[in-house]
């Protein structure tokens, strides 16, 4: 059964609190018990508590599949990019190196096989929420309808187009950006800068405090 079309994945990294409930819940799946297919990153721990979950964005034209020399990575008809087929994967890590979002990991699980988030296909194909979006305490990860997200996040809008240099990627997973942001796509490389928002918030914080 395909994932019901009205149910979509939304991610708002601004809400991430770094608790790793998503990662811990991911590792509860019976097919890869004990190992998470997603991970959490601190963006700049010395300067900020900001974290971000790294889940598969499920690209329309998955770079990981395009660069796979063994044609091991397939996409379901409803747009979910799957883990490499066990019998085909040669563990070359091309996918891991090529993915612009840094999702697939070959080495973390200690075996020569690429495994990645498949949007909890066992759950979502039955209309259930994925584990990570079920448990996420701050609902940084959300699984539901566009109508629900419009009500819950009136200051955000979902986008699913990303630019990395010259490459434009469309994804199944939506990223929430401020409604005030005029762009229809997120230019990721343009946003990579030396100073994060948190640095700006931090500046002068303690200096103006009387210590």
């Amino acid at each position: 059964m395909p994932i019901p079309v009205e149910l979509e994945f939304f991610m708002d990294p601004n809400r991430c609190i770094g608790c790793e409930a998503c990662v811990q819940a991911c590792s509860e799946c019976d097919t890869h018990k004990g190992t998470a297919m997603i991970h959490l990153e601190y963006t700049d721990r010395p300067n900020s508590p900001q974290t971000a979950p790294v889940i598969c964005m499920h690209c329309d034209s998955p770079t990981c599949a395009e660069v796979c020399p063994a044609d091991a990575i397939r996409k379901t008809e409803d747009g979910v990019v799957q883990s490499a087929k066990k019998e085909r994967c040669i563990g070359c890590n091309n996918c891991g190196l090529a993915c612009p979002f840094g999702v697939p990991k070959v080495e973390v699980i200690g075996i020569e096989l690429m495994m990645k988030c498949d949007m909890c296909y066992d759950r979502t194909s039955e209309g259930k929420k994925p584990m990570c979006a079920s448990v996420c305490p701050s609902q940084c990860l959300y699984f539901g309808t566009r109508e629900e997200i419009a009500v819950l996040r009136p200051n955000s809008r979902p986008i699913s187009q990303f630019q990395f240099g010259n490459q434009i990627i469309n994804t199944k997973v939506n990223m929430l950006v401020p409604v005030s942001d005029p762009d229809s796509l997120l230019n990721v490389t343009a946003h990579l800068g030396p100073q994060s928002m948190d640095d700006m918030m931090m500046e002068g914080l303690y200096e103006e405090a009387v210590l």
Binding site: I111, Q139, Y206, A209, L211
Partner: protein, 759 residues
């Protein structure tokens, strides 16, 4: 003599902590649950709904419980991995007696023999030294039925005044302040009132790590337009996106609230109708806070005048608001004053007892609220009654079928009990659901007290660091092995359902207590056959008290998704929001919504007192302590769950780069923290997310890694809460790496390697 073993290696080898991981799956042996049990998480005060997957007598996993209204499936990493505590290698399945000839310190004994031994020691000590030579320690993670039974057991069976509980380390400052101001001690609102508030004020609460699901309520409020004010010495995840962040100097919260109130008065951001009609003593407070000018407040609190003014203006002009605080303002030698300060700015705004207008402390333990209501607190009787009040004593004595004169008077707080062990007044201790060796401040002193006891009996499911000192350990029950109610963070009474039976000789704690009464030959009032029977007596005992549970039944809890107390009759739905205009209570009897004879709330002066130990030339840095998201309290459970330990394996010293540079401390280097009590050597984590005059160390670890070796045993004079959140220390690069070899967790069960299953 209850001495800890000198060589801990064989003790840890046998009793843990060892790390449990998900069992390695294989193609043929994917565990399929044969039962799904709807219940709640065993850890914090939020009490998230969770569904446990059970196969035979084992909990094998979980499913999100989407139908429980508080969390709708959400869980933090502790909730996700909690099931790994069941079927754990370290689980105590037999009674244990101290055996010096055994390298691990204990030998298994028949359960009945162990009960007899504890009972005979109690008799011996009480015959020789009197009833009050026996003390009882209890816990706020217990169900309310057990908490009630422990209070009754101490007073009626053991006839000792000395019972206290580990909620002493959690909610007592807030509880005392709530009683002074409102006459009753409960979170005033359900959490959905947060979502509609204009302004959410959060003081001393690392919500993202200590009450993670509450984050969603706060941030949903922000989506709807709320402004968020966060007051904390650290930039916590919830502080990161606050509209106003005040990086307060630890120990100055009362001053900050007084300063805010002074700004509110100067600008007339006050609800005069509310103040005139529903409160008393505002005038006295006006006079007191006039000394807290903007300049002085900013200077004392170490925050900028501009930001302080911004916060006060947002708060002052709001039309609806919710104020939350937690241990950050409560764990102080003036914790009650700090909480009163918070309550004062709520009451002056008039924003309480209405939709989207609320105030609450964020309770820490599973039954932080319910565990403080029904008599395991040293000065309290069931129904939040007062053990010194003759009418209350009379009522409870009647329920317990004893002569009022036989009911002991108030005891002392749990830290004072440690002092009474040192002074020789308390000779024997029975401890359930409490790990004082790790949780109490100045832990070397606490360990010495345990060593000094003539006899220590612990009821535990794992060998806690305290139980290592025990003469007898009785195998108790995990949360999923029993049923009963707890009252969560919002004041909602919910039901814990039994998923599995205790293994081996382990028993539900209430059965163990009743077995002790039998062995003591003092069984009158202890013939309960089930938690439900205990609950039925508790309902009557609470009737007419402020925490009235008399209309709550297990069935009503199931039907309504929990019942908010007070619920004084069978047809009463419970009280979702406290202090609504026109609401009734047993004290005011209709005179007003607050729990005083005139129905009015009390403004109380919130006196700023400097911390018990201030920084000086020798100890120039402030030490503050707290939690991380993947561990819980003393870690008796969470330090045994592999994936949680891997997430944050060792305590780190958080230190600002400016301070680190000054002291020669480097990121990732062994660093020593020294206080007047002791020293601890840990790795430094150099981050800009903490005040440059303050360091932070989390407290979940025992032994040489224990933050509580450093903390001071100063207590609030009213609530007796210890001042975990501020003491003076010095910090320097370690002279040599620390020697933890004798106590680091054994890792007999290394993380299993993944075997891929393709379905």
């Amino acid at each position: 003599m209850a001495l800890e073993q000198s060589n801990l290696l064989p003790v840890i080898d046998r009793w843990g902590p060892s790390l449990a991981y998900n069992e390695k799956p294989s193609q043929d042996s994917i565990d399929v649950a044969d039962r799904m049990v709807d219940t709640h998480c065993c850890f914090c005060g939020q009490q998230c709904g969770i569904t446990l997957k059970v196969k035979e007598n084992r909990v094998i996993g979980f499913e999100p419980r989407y139908d429980f209204p508080f969390n709708e499936g959400m869980l933090c990493p502790k909730g996700v991995k909690r099931y790994l505590q069941g079927s754990h290698r370290d689980r105590l399945e037999t009674a244990l007696a101290r055996d010096e000839s055994s390298p691990d310190g204990f030998r298994s004994v028949e359960y009945d023999q162990a009960i007899e031994k504890v009972a005979s020691e109690i008799k011996r000590v009480q015959e020789k030294y009197g009833h009050s030579a026996v003390g009882v320690l209890s816990g706020a993670s217990l169900t309310t039925e057990k908490a009630y039974l422990m209070g009754k057991f101490a007073r009626v069976c053991l006839k000792t005044p000395y019972i206290d509980y580990n909620g002493r380390l959690c909610m007592v400052s807030a509880g005392a302040a709530n009683k002074k101001a409102f006459g009753v001690d409960r979170a005033a609102n359900a959490w959905d009132d947060i979502v509609g508030a204009d302004v959410v004020w959060i003081s001393g609460a690392n919500i993202a790590e200590c009450a993670p699901i509450t984050t969603n309520y706060v941030w949903q409020a922000r989506e709807m337009g709320a402004k968020i004010i966060v007051v904390d010495p650290r930039i916590t995840p919830i502080a990161r996106t606050a509209d106003v962040f005040l990086p307060i100097r630890p120990g100055t919260d009362a001053a900050l609230f007084n300063g805010v109130l002074q700004i509110m008065i100067e600008n007339d951001w006050l609800d005069h109708d509310f103040i005139n009609n529903h409160t008393v003593d505002f005038d006295k407070l006006v006079e007191h806070v006039s000394q807290w000018t903007l300049d002085r407040t900013a200077q004392v609190c170490g925050v900028s005048k501009k930001k302080l003014m911004q916060a006060a203006e947002l708060w002052g002009k709001a039309s609806s608001s919710f104020l939350l605080h937690a241990r950050g303002i409560e764990h102080h030698s003036n914790g009650v004053e700090n909480c009163l300060g918070a309550i004062n700015i709520v009451m002056a705004s008039g924003r309480i007892g209405r939709k989207n207008c609320g105030y609450a402390t964020i309770t820490g333990q599973a039954n932080g609220q319910g565990g403080r209501e029904h008599g395991q607190k040293c000065d309290q009787l069931p129904g939040a009654r007062d053990i010194s009040n003759p009418e209350h004593r009379e009522y409870i004595s009647k329920i317990w079928e004893i002569d009022e004169a036989e009911l002991p008077g108030p005891g002392v707080d749990c830290y004072e009990m440690m002092r009474k062990i040192h002074s020789g007044e308390i000779k024997l201790l029975l401890s359930l659901c409490f790990n004082p060796k790790v949780s109490l401040p100045d832990s070397e002193y606490v360990g010495a007290a345990l060593d000094k006891l003539q006899f220590l009996a612990c009821i535990d499911f794992f060998m806690s660091e305290t139980a290592r000192h025990a003469d007898v350990v009785l195998p108790g029950s995990l949360q999923e092995e029993d049923e009963g109610v707890v009252t969560q963070i919002e004041g909602r009474v919910i039901k814990i359902n039994k998923a599995v039976e205790p293994p081996g000789d382990a028993k539900q704690d209430w059965k163990i207590i009743q077995d002790l009464t039998k062995a003591l030959g003092r069984t009158q009032g202890f013939s309960f056959n089930s938690p439900r029977e205990i609950f039925d007596e508790l309902r009557i005992a609470s009737k007419g008290g402020t925490a009235d549970y008399s209309g709550i039944t297990y069935e009503k809890i199931d039907a309504q998704g929990g019942v908010f107390w007070p619920c004084p009759s069978d047809d009463h739905p419970g009280t979702r929001r406290m202090f609504e205009p026109g609401s009734n209570n047993p004290i005011a009897k209709g005179a007003g919504p607050f729990y005083f004879p005139d129905g009015k709330a009390r403004f109380c002066i919130s006196e700023h007192r400097p911390p018990a130990e201030e920084t000086d030339e020798e100890f120039p840095v402030i030490l503050t302590t707290g939690r991380v998201v993947s561990q819980f309290l003393t870690g008796t459970q969470t330090r045994r769950i592999g994936p949680l330990v891997d997430q944050y394996p060792e305590p780190l010293i958080e230190i600002h780069p400016v301070l680190a540079e000054k002291l020669g401390v480097k990121d990732g280097q062994w660093t020593t923290v020294e206080t007047r009590r002791n020293t601890v050597t840990l790795m430094a984590q150099v981050v800009k997310t903490i005040r440059p005059d303050t360091i932070f160390v989390p407290y979940h670890w025992p032994g040489k890694r224990s933050a509580n070796r450093l903390t001071i045993s100063a207590q609030d004079p009213i609530s007796k809460i210890p001042a975990y959140k501020v003491c003076a220390c010095k910090v320097y690069p370690a002279k040599e790496p620390p020697h933890y070899e004798n106590e680091v967790e054994a890792r007999e069960h290394p993380k299993p390697k993944l075997e891929i299953i393709q379905m």
